[in-house]
C-alpha cells in the first residue's frame, strides 16, 4: 500500500515515481536478474550432470553422506567462508604463493566481491546445488531410475542418453517447483548478497533494503518490493517458455533414435570437478575455524603465524547473548513447527483439511523482501513490531513449509494397517499417535526438526525487519559486522552460527538410532 501513496503515515509520495528516479534502479534490477537466472541455471545444470555422471558410483554415496552438512551451514556463514577463500589474499591464492604464482603481494587482477556478481553467483550455486540435488535424488525411486537405465542400455543407449531421453523428462516435472523456489531465492536473496554481492550498484533486494532504511524513500522501497514480485512472475514465465522450447527440441531428438557412445573420460572429468566443488565449500568452513583462532595471518602465509583463543574466550559476554537468543528462537521454531506440521498432516489424513501441498510452496515463492515489507508495515500499524513472538512467528512461518514437505511423504506412506492393528488392540487415537505413528516416523521427524532449526538459525531478513533491530541473533550480528569487524571476530560468529544446525543434523542422525535401541530393549 505505501507504494501507491495510500499510507502516507508510513511513507510519503508516490513510490513508483521515486523508484524510477533512483539512479541505481535499473542497474540493480538487471544485476539481480542476471545473478538470479545464471545461478539458477547453473544449479540445474550441476544437478543434472551430477545425476548423469555420478549416480550409482561411490562418489554418489559419499556426496549424500556429505550434503546434509552443507545444507546445514547457514548462507551467511558459507558466504563469509567463500569470501575468505576466493579473495586475492584468500586461502586459494596463499597455497600457491609466492612459490608457484610468484605473488609476493596479493594479485590485483580480481577482487571479492566483484562488480559483476560472479562471487555471488558462485556462493548461491554452492548453497543451492546440493539442495536441488537432494530434492532430485529423493524423487529417483518413484520414477524407477535403475529400471530405466537397464532398459536404455539394452536398447543400446549410452548412460548419458538414457538419462536425457528417458529419465529427465520424468524427473523434471517433479523438481520444477523446487527449481522455482530456488529461482525466487536467488533473485531476491539479501544476506548472501550483502556479503558476496557487488556493492555499487548492489543487487535489487539490497538496494530495496537501503531504500527502506532511508526515511524519504520508504514509498520507493515498497514500490520496489511489488516490482520485485512482478519481476519474479515474469522470470517464471520465461522459465516456462524455456521448458517448452527444450521439451520441443528434445522430443524431436528422442524420435530420431540416434545412438552415440558416451565419453567415459568426460564422466571422470566431471566427477573430479564436482568432488572439488563440494570439497571447496566444506574447506571454507574449515578455513573459518582457522581464522577464528588466528592472531596474525598475513599474505602469503598458508597458516597463521600466531594463534589466539581470545576471540572465543575473551568475547564470551558478547557471544552468549546472541547465541542464547538464536537458540531460543530455534527451539521455539522446532517445537511449534513439529506440533503444527503433525497436526496438519493428521488433519489431512483424517480428511479434516484437503491435501494442499502447493500451499506450503507459496511463502517460498514470494520474494522475502516483498512479503516482509508488507508484514513490517502491518506490524507497525498493529503495534506488534519488535516483539519476541512476532519474530518467533515469522521463523515458524518460514520453517513450516520445509517441515510439512519433509514429513508429508513419510506420513502418507505409512501402512494404515498399523493403525487398524493398534486400534484392534484397544489403543485410542492419542495412544496410537504417540506410541505407534510418531515412533515409526522418528527419522523424518528428526530430520524435519533439524531443518526447522537450520532455517530458524539462518533467518536474517525476517528477524531484522520484524524485530525492529532488537533481536541481535547470530545471523544479524554476522551480516552487520561483515563490513567492519575484523576477520577473526567474523569467523567466530560464522563458526558459531554453523555449529548449531550442524549439531542438530548430527542429532537427527543419532536420535532415531537411540530411540530404536531403547525400544528394542523393552
Amino acid at each position: 500500500m505505501p507504494a501507491f501513496g495510500l499510507l502516507p503515515e508510513l511513507a510519503s509520495g508516490n513510490g513508483f515515481n521515486q523508484l524510477f528516479n533512483e539512479p541505481r534502479f535499473w542497474p540493480a534490477l538487471i544485476l539481480s536478474i542476471k545473478t538470479g537466472v545464471i545461478a539458477t541455471l547453473l544449479v540445474l545444470l550441476i544437478t543434472l550432470f551430477t545425476l548423469i555422471c555420478v549416480y550409482g558410483t561411490r562418489l554418489w554415496q559419499w556426496l549424500f553422506a556429505w550434503i546434509p552438512s552443507l545444507l546445514a551451514v547457514p548462507h551467511a556463514a558459507m558466504a563469509v567462508g567463500l569470501a575468505f577463500m576466493l579473495a586475492p589474499s584468500g586461502w586459494l591464492a596463499r597455497w600457491v604463493s609466492p612459490g608457484i604464482s610468484g605473488w609476493e603481494r596479493p594479485p590485483a587482477d580480481w577482487v571479492v566481491p566483484d562488480a559483476h556478481g560472479w562471487s555471488l553467483i558462485f556462493g548461491l550455486v554452492v548453497k543451492e546445488a546440493p539442495f536441488l540435488l537432494l530434492t532430485a535424488a529423493a524423487q529417483l525411486q518413484s520414477i524407477n531410475v535403475d529400471a530405466s537405465l537397464r532398459i536404455g542400455r539394452t536398447l543400446g543407449y549410452a548412460p548419458a542418453r538414457c538419462w536425457s531421453r528417458l529419465i529427465l523428462p520424468q524427473l523434471y516435472p517433479r523438481i520444477r517447483l523446487m527449481l522455482m523456489v530456488i529461482l525466487a531465492f536467488n533473485f531476491s536473496v539479501v544476506d548472501m548478497a550483502i556479503i558476496l554481492g557487488p556493492g555499487n550498484p548492489p543487487t535489487f533486494s539490497v538496494l530495496l533494503m537501503s531504500l527502506i532504511n532511508d526515511p524519504s524513500s520508504r514509498a520507493a522501497a515498497s514500490a520496489g518490493a511489488l516490482f520485485m514480485a512482478f519481476g519474479l512472475v515474469l522470470l517464471f514465465v520465461v522459465l516456462w517458455l524455456l521448458e517448452r522450447l527444450i521439451a520441443g527440441i528434445a522430443s524431436g531428438r528422442r524420435e530420431s533414435g540416434q545412438r552415440w557412445v558416451g565419453h567415459i573420460l568426460w564422466r571422470r572429468f566431471y566427477s573430479a570437478f564436482i568432488a572439488a566443488f563440494f570439497a571447496l565449500s566444506s574447506i571454507s568452513i574449515v578455513l573459518l575455524v582457522i581464522w577464528s583462532v588466528a592472531q596474525r595471518w598475513r599474505f602469503p602465509a598458508v597458516f597463521p603465524t600466531q594463534y589466539t583463543s581470545r576471540f572465543w574466550l575473551g568475547k564470551v559476554d558478547q557471544l552468549t547473548s546472541p547465541a542464547v537468543l538464536t537458540l531460543s528462537f530455534a527451539l521455539f521454531t522446532v517445537v511449534s513447527v513439529l506440533v503444527a506440521a503433525i497436526a496438519w498432516l493428521e488433519s489431512e489424513r483424517r480428511g479434516i483439511v484437503p491435501k494442499l501441498d502447493w500451499l506450503w510452496y507459496v511463502p517460498l515463492l514470494i520474494p522475502q523482501v516483498t512479503l516482509l515489507f508488507g508484514l513490517q508495515a502491518a506490524s507497525l500499524l498493529f503495534f506488534i513490531d519488535g516483539k519476541w513472538l512476532t519474530v518467533a512467528y515469522i521463523h515458524w512461518f518460514y520453517a513450516m513449509p520445509y517441515a510439512v514437505l519433509i514429513l508429508a511423504v513419510a506420513w502418507r506412506e505409512i501402512d494404515p494397517n498399523w493403525h487398524s492393528a493398534a486400534a484392534v488392540l484397544g489403543a485410542g487415537y492419542w495412544t496410537i499417535l504417540f506410541r505407534v505413528r510418531i515412533p515409526m516416523l522418528i527419522r523424518p521427524i528428526a530430520q524435519a526438526a533439524a531443518v526447522a532449526l537450520a532455517v530458524s538459525v539462518a533467518q536474517y531478513l525476517p528477524t531484522l525487519l520484524l524485530g525492529a533491530g532488537r533481536y541481535q541473533t547470530l545471523a544479524i550480528d554476522l551480516v552487520t559486522s561483515f563490513g567492519g569487524v575484523d576477520k577473526r571476530a567474523i569467523a567466530v560468529l560464522a563458526v558459531l552460527q554453523s555449529l548449531l544446525p550442524l549439531l542438530a543434523f548430527v542429532l537427527a542422525l543419532l536420535v532415531p538410532r537411540l530411540v530404536f535401541r531403547s525400544r528394542l530393549a523393552h
Binding site: R24, R296, Q318, R470, D477
Partner: protein, 405 residues
Amino acid sequence: MIIQRFKKTVLTTAVCLSFALSTVTSAQDANVNATWDDLLESAKGQQVYFNAWGGGEQINSYIQWVANTVEEKYGVSLTHVKIGDIAEVVSQLQAAKAVGRDSDGNVDLMWVNGENFAAMKNGGLTWGAFARALPNTKYVKDTPSIKFDFSVPVDGLESPWGGAQLVFIYDTEYLKQPPASALALLEHVKAGGRFAYPAPPDFHGTTFIKQLLIELSEQSTALASPVEQADFEAVTAPLWAYLDQLHPLLWGNGESWPASAAATMQLLDDAELDIALSFNPNEASAAVKNGQLPETVRTYVFENGTIGNTHFVTIPYNAKAKAGAMIVANFLLSADAQARKANTEFWGDPTILDVSKLPAEDQARFEALDAGPWALPLGAGKTLAEPHASWAAALEQAWLERYAN
C-alpha cells in the same frame, strides 16, 4: 486524530520544557543533587536500548564494558542494539512519529551526528535539552565542533561522546612516502599504487569525498552554508573531474568498493591496499595491539589538514527509559569512561573532555595514555571543519548518479 496528535505534541513539548526549566532552575538552586538523585532512583532497574553502530569489534567490547559498569553502579541494564547505519534508526523514529507512537519507543539512546542529527532535530525526534542537565557536562571542552554539529547548533539535544578526524594509515613495508594531498594521491595510483575508498553513502566514503571537495574546490567557503545557497555544479565540478581520473585506477577499478573504512584496514593488512581510511587518529594503534595490523603501519593526514568532527549520543522523543538513558549518557562523559575510551588498548577514541578541568588524579590517567608510534602523532595536521550538514546528502546523490550505474 490531528487534534489528538497536536495535544500529544504540546504535552511532550511541555514535559520537555518543564524538564529543561526545572533542571535549569535547580541548577541555580543549591539542591541540584536532589533532581539527579531522583533520576538515579527512577533509573534503577530500567532497561536501556542503546542503538549504536555495531561494526567495530573494539567499540562493541567497549560498549559491553559500559553496560557491565552501569549495571553494577546504577542498576541500569544496557543493551547494545548493533546497527549498520544510524540512518535506519532515524527512519524508524520517523515512521513511529508518523503513526503517532509517541511513547514506549524502541530506542532509548542512540549514537549520532551530522546529517542524522540534523534530520532528527528538524523532525522533532529528539527529546529535549537533556545534555545540559548531565552533571559531567561541566568537564566538556568548549569548542565549536561540540557546540555545532556540522554547522547545526546542538542546543543540548545531544551529548558529546568522542572526537574524530579523517586520517590515513599506510604500511611502511610496502609504501615509503605516502601521498599527502589529493593530487599526490592521484599520482600515486597512476604509478600503480593500490587505493580504494568505501562507496558513498557509506559515512567514511562521504567524508572522503567531502575532504577532496574542500581541497579541490575553488569555492570551498560555500561549504559552510546550506547547499541550497550554493551553485552546486560550479562548486563540485573539480571534484568530479578528479574522481573521473581516479576511479579507473582504484582497487576494484571503480566498480567494486570496500564495504567500509574498517574493510580498508583489513585490506591493508592483507596487502591488497597501500592505504586505509579511518576516522580515528588512534585507530591504527588499537589495531596493532589487537593483532589486526602489522607493527610497520603509521598514521598521517594530508599536509593541508583533514576533516574533523564530534560524535554524540541523543535520546529520542519517544524513548521508554529516559532516566536510564541520561544516567548512561552521563556515565559516558565521566573521566572513567572517557579515559578508557581514549586508551588504544580498548578503543582509542579521542576524548571530548577538557582534561585541564578535571581533578588531578583524573588528569594523570589521561596523561598516562600512550598511543605509540602507530597513531597520528599529537599535534600533527590541521583539523578542517565539516561542510554544513546539508551537503552530505547532495554529494551522495550526485556521486551515485555519476558512479553507481
